[in-house]
Amino acid sequence: MMEPGLYHILFISAALFFIGVYGFLTRRNLITMLMSIELILNSVNLNFIAFNKYCWPGKLDGLFFTVFIIAIAAAEAAVAIAIIINLYRSHQSIDVENAEDLKY
């Protein structure tokens, strides 16, 4: 059994990132879109941790970054969900297809 190394982790995080981007662009449910963004953020977290552990073991910047990202992601999600709830109140739906008052 091979030890998982930097490349494995990077592969996973890149996959997570692009799954997130794909989800964000294709899903029409606001909550799912928000979840996709969380996926992106988590892939970034993985990246930071992996780089920190394998490439720059002497430094702590990556770890700090991860901690802050987790906190900010929570704040962001809070505001986003508040907005989505408000949107649900006015539109009776959380499908982006129904939020189409504004367009070109």
């Binding site: 990132f17 997130g20 964000f24 606001l30 879109m33 928000l34 963004i37 992106i40 953020l41 892939s43 970034v44 990246n47 930071f48 992996a50 780089f51 490439c55 720059w56 430094k59 910047d61 990556g62 700090f64 970054f65 802050f68 990202i69 900010i72 704040a75 962001e76 505001v79 986003a80 508040a82 907005i83 989505i84 408000n86 949107l87 109140r89 006015s90 539109h91 982006v96 939020a99 008052d101 504004l102 367009k103 070109y104």
Partner: protein, 465 residues
């Protein structure tokens, strides 16, 4: 300790105001009629103090830095916020949660201050979020309007998405160089493919925030949906702050990758100007119209940035200063009209001059300035940007930019024509303008006229570097 106080003065002042507002809110609270003047005075004090006790240096192990130029940039933002608080008084007085509105706005402002001052990708990211998330909440401030919540939704999702991309770029950059400090990065950049990839991710995130084509799609919707005070804040303060940090990041951190970003910048500048202008041609809603016009203006800012020169920095700062006055004058007029009558369509503006000559003149001045017609300051702003862009000898680029000025003149003139010439059966009735709003509009008008003619303004900015 003393150094801490002077270096972080702007941030501390804004924080103090935030806490004061919180305190007022918690303890019983004040009526809007008395709270609004108080906030206006506080913001004025904040703006004035911005010019005193400035010093240069860095704090927190080089995470935070400030200089006279940065202090000046902060003053521009302070001024813009003060003017918004005056201009949008009509809407602000009516809103239910005035204290909260200013809390959010000032938090965002604090975030922008930190962002301009940041010298480290970590604090840059934190402050960027601080500058964005409250604005999304502000965009939703017309709670019972469908459009408002829709705009806010688009804003928060796209900004969260863009910060995700930004972070991914930062993580790659960290992997490639092992540092997130602005001071150490330039020495470690060598233009390897990974770094270029990371840079493009970062660039994309900036492009989202600055609404550079093709990442501009959220702009118009958010501008139209939000209350007008928020739209003004987004288009002036937010844009200005991101433009400042974008420029200093490119110049300071990514200097070794000049060849990469110069090409990107030039192509995107042309695309942005063209798209902004062409879409602005067909807009009916004044806020949407101004949204696309501001996209086009960003294209010009990019042209100035592309110079990679001292004059580029001065030109961009100068342009943003002028842009504050011109755009806020336009938004101010729109705010007064929409606050009184709820009308936001350009067709409704027909015959405005007959009933409200003062508003008509200010709007005309603002639009001429945005179009860059002498003798307004907007011309000088554009002139310096073009001169800066010309310093790299890209003359086809200047020519395209100049041709864009013509397109933009066409649609700005369309509004001027509606205001001054077109006949209207039911023009907007005479609007009583309160003294403070009138004063703010006059300040904007005077700024538009004088800023260009007084050449020492530009020389002052140049001397700050």
């Amino acid at each position: 300790m003393n150094e801490f106080l002077t270096l972080m003065k702007s941030e501390l002042l804004v924080t103090a105001i935030i806490f004061l507002l919180l305190f007022i809110k918690i303890s019983k609270g004040l009526k809007n009629e008395s709270l609004l003047p108080l906030v206006q005075v506080l913001l004025l004090v904040n703006f004035v103090l911005g010019f005193f006790f400035n010093s240069e240096g860095s704090l927190f192990g080089d995470m935070f830095t400030t200089s006279s130029l940065i202090a000046f940039q902060k003053s521009i933002l302070n001024l813009a916020v003060y003017l918004i608080s005056l201009l949008c008084a009509g809407w602000l007085k009516k809103t239910q949660h005035l204290a909260e509105f200013f809390l959010l706005m000032l938090s965002a402002l604090l975030g922008m201050f930190l962002m301009i001052s940041s010298d480290n990708l970590l604090i840059f990211y934190l402050s960027l979020e601080l500058a964005t998330i409250p604005v999304a909440a502000m965009a939703n401030f017309d709670l019972d309007k469908k459009r408002s919540s829709e705009g806010a939704m688009k804003m928060i999702l796209s900004s969260a998405f863009s910060s995700g991309i930004l972070l991914f770029g930062i993580s790659l950059l960290y992997g490639a160089t092992g540092t997130v400090s602005f001071n150490e990065l330039p020495g470690l950049l060598d233009g390897s493919p990974l770094q270029i990839l990371a840079f493009i991710f970062l660039f994309t995130a900036f492009a989202f925030k600055l609404s550079i084509v093709p990442f501009h799609l959220w702009t118009a919707d958010v501008y139209e949906g939000s209350p007008i005070a928020v739209t003004a804040f987004l288009s002036v303060v937010s844009k200005g702050a991101v433009a400042f940090i974008f420029m200093s990041t490119l110049y300071k951190v990514f200097q070794p990758m000049l060849d990469t970003w110069y090409i990107l910048l030039v192509i995107l500048a042309v695309a942005t100007m063209l798209t902004g202008n062409l879409f602005a041609l067909r807009q009916q809603n004044i806020k949407r119209f101004l949204a696309f016009s501001s996209i086009a203006q960003v294209g010009f800012i990019l042209a100035g940035i592309s110079s990679n020169d001292k004059i580029g920095t001065s030109a961009v700062v100068y342009f943003v200063l002028i842009y504050v006055f011109s755009n806020l004058a336009a938004f101010g007029v729109a705010a007064v009209i929409s606050g009184q009558t709820g009308k936001e369509n350009i067709d409704d503006y027909k015959g405005l001059y007959k009933t409200n000559p003062f508003l008509g003149w200010i709007l005309a001045l603002a639009l001429f300035s945005l179009a860059g017609v002498p003798p307004t300051a907007g011309f000088f702003g554009k002139l310096f940007l073009l001169t800066a862009a010309g310093s790299t000898a890209a003359y086809w680029f200047i020519t395209v930019a100049a041709l864009n000025m013509i397109i933009s003149l066409y649609y700005y003139l369309r509004v001027v024509r509606a205001v001054f010439m077109d006949k209207n059966e039911q023009p907007i009735e005479k609007i009583e303008i309160s003294p403070s709003v009138k004063m703010a509009l006059i300040i904007c008008g005077a700024g538009i006229v004088l800023l260009g003619l007084l050449s020492w303004v530009f020389e002052h900015i140049e001397s700050l570097q």
